[in-house]
Subunit: 356 residues, 2 copies
Amino acid sequence: MPVTIKDVARLAGVSPATVSLVLSNKGQVSEDTKRRVLEAVQKLGYRPNVLAQNLVKGRTNTVLLCAFIREDRKLSTFYGELINSLLTAISLSGYYLQMVVKGEFFNGHPLDKREALLEIAKNRLFEGLVLLSHWPVQYAEVSDLVREKFPFVVVNQRVEGEGISYVDIDHYGGAKKAVEYLVHQGHVRIAHIRGPREHRHAEERYRAYLDALVEHGIPVRREYILEGDFRRLSGRRAMEELLAVRPLPTAVFCANDKMAIGALQVAKERGIRVHEDLTIFGFDGIEAVKYTDPPIPTVEQPLGELGKMAAEILVKQIQGGEGKRVILGCNLLLWDGFLVKGDGKGEKTQEGGRLR
Amino acid sequence: MPVTIKDVARLAGVSPATVSLVLSNKGQVSEDTKRRVLEAVQKLGYRPNVLAQNLVKGRTNTVLLCAFIREDRKLSTFYGELINSLLTAISLSGYYLQMVVKGEFFNGHPLDKREALLEIAKNRLFEGLVLLSHWPVQYAEVSDLVREKFPFVVVNQRVEGEGISYVDIDHYGGAKKAVEYLVHQGHVRIAHIRGPREHRHAEERYRAYLDALVEHGIPVRREYILEGDFRRLSGRRAMEELLAVRPLPTAVFCANDKMAIGALQVAKERGIRVHEDLTIFGFDGIEAVKYTDPPIPTVEQPLGELGKMAAEILVKQIQGGEGKRVILGCNLLLWDGFLVKGDGKGEKTQEGGRLR
DNA sequence: GTTTCAAGCTAAAACGTTTTAAGGAGTTTT
DNA sequence: AAAACTCCTTAAAACGTTTTAGCTTGAAAC
């Protein structure tokens, strides 16, 4: 039923080969023949079957974004911007993007990630793979891809080992910047609401907190370190605990913005003048911190950069180039009334909340 | 270089046809042969070339999400949740999702949407299309798809005409709910910060505002109607203007949350006790309204439902069923201290900001 | 009047599968 | 012993392209 190249050839009185040549502007075809072919194409409304083209060319111009995410989390919440920039950058390079989300389980069994990835590499549908994972990626899970020389890049995780490209964010550096900023502001009693222990990023931010204090000769106090689960409510609970500690801290560095928001709410309920008596600092750069009252200074994750860089690294590999490992630095996102006293690099002040 | 079905056949000492039969569990094959084939598959690490499978089967199990969005807007900002639910629902139905974003222009010329869509329908790469557009969709732009009987569904816009499926949100109904809620709360002097005139959704929300007032016998006052551009800053400006009007309104219904946030900021700066002296109401249900102080009640767009429904409608068409048109209702998102006095249906109170 | 050359076109193979009709080898029925 | 049936297997066509080597044809060169 659909019109094929043969139909066009017949109508134009030429062979399919000629039609193909005309359409791809190859070989030498007389002007007259060209015209006849083009007319036939027009009249029949012919479009090449891309499937067939792909098969014979062995290329699909398509890459896959494979996201391994816990079933209860949404891809959008955090990675919307990442996807956005990835899509843009990939398109600009002439590739298409297909997406698939996989959870921890498949048919009730733990998902065999290795198997799933190998499948992707071998089914010839994709020319490259962007691997996004909420939890750490093991070398063994991707070693097949390396062996097959299949172009891929891991995003938001680091995987050491021969032949693996990744692009990740410098959580340690970002957190350190934040704490050092607080130190330079004159804070000495700095508390930390950390994220879950099993979370690598939480761990890095926590290490940075410790290191920053130690390096500045500030004693680490056990009572100033609370643990949350990255959700707002746990930030509330932690802050409530913290407010029972004496002497009170003058600043709290929270491992993410959601918990910082919870902490802010509690502090305000207790009548504390936030940022005057107690500074609250977040991490992530989600939209909402701009509109709390007062806005919450935070460490901004360069999610847009992340996607762009991932695309760049992947495309380079597809086109035969070398892979690459990149760690992206974070900027501090500060607000009116926060003087930048850090190294002066990286910080930026955005338009945004100007409450009070 | 890649191992094909022929390699497997040779190693197993059978014909390619037999290998295919074994792998797809069709026809009758002796246990012994099955075992030999499976062993060969295993040993060679063979995976079928899906491209070839697709070509011969004429199916790809893939649908395309085509988003027409202004270049300066991000897909993620608003549609993250939509994409998320669409992806989930589509996967559950056994299809893959590919995404492409197109702007208003292509190669410097206005994009020929009709042409772009026809291309998609005919290149045989996709079995269906989800069409997401920021601006209205014309019948003529999709009539080719209808003629080709290509399964598609328009999301977030309504297109009347034979054979067109869409799923849209009831902006009029949502806005009306909001204004009626305010009326039932006893408000009479209700202002409206509307969205841009050329924006269909803004227009609908505006109409609902007018109708709600009229139906409740409340005079419409010209000075109470301001126009913004959906951005926060325009909400600020509008509120500043509004505060010069006498008598002051006791409530402001904003056409979206961003402007509501701007309005809230100004009101607070002027020392107005928001929600006591002046109620501010938003529209959209973005995350940030939960964390402003006070939180802003709003009309929640069922973006998740939107994606799910789109998937459902599309898949049904692909599988030979009929298309469908659906308008999804909105719920009010209210906060502590807001008593629900509406019709009691649809409203829901979410966990969230509890400031003050 | 051959030979040479270029221009224009095409036949056929290739890409890697699936599917179908038919073939061969036993086994059972008549 | 022929006929009928079952099982198992496969040859070959089909899917719709691209690509390459080679074939015509006519003109230019000798």
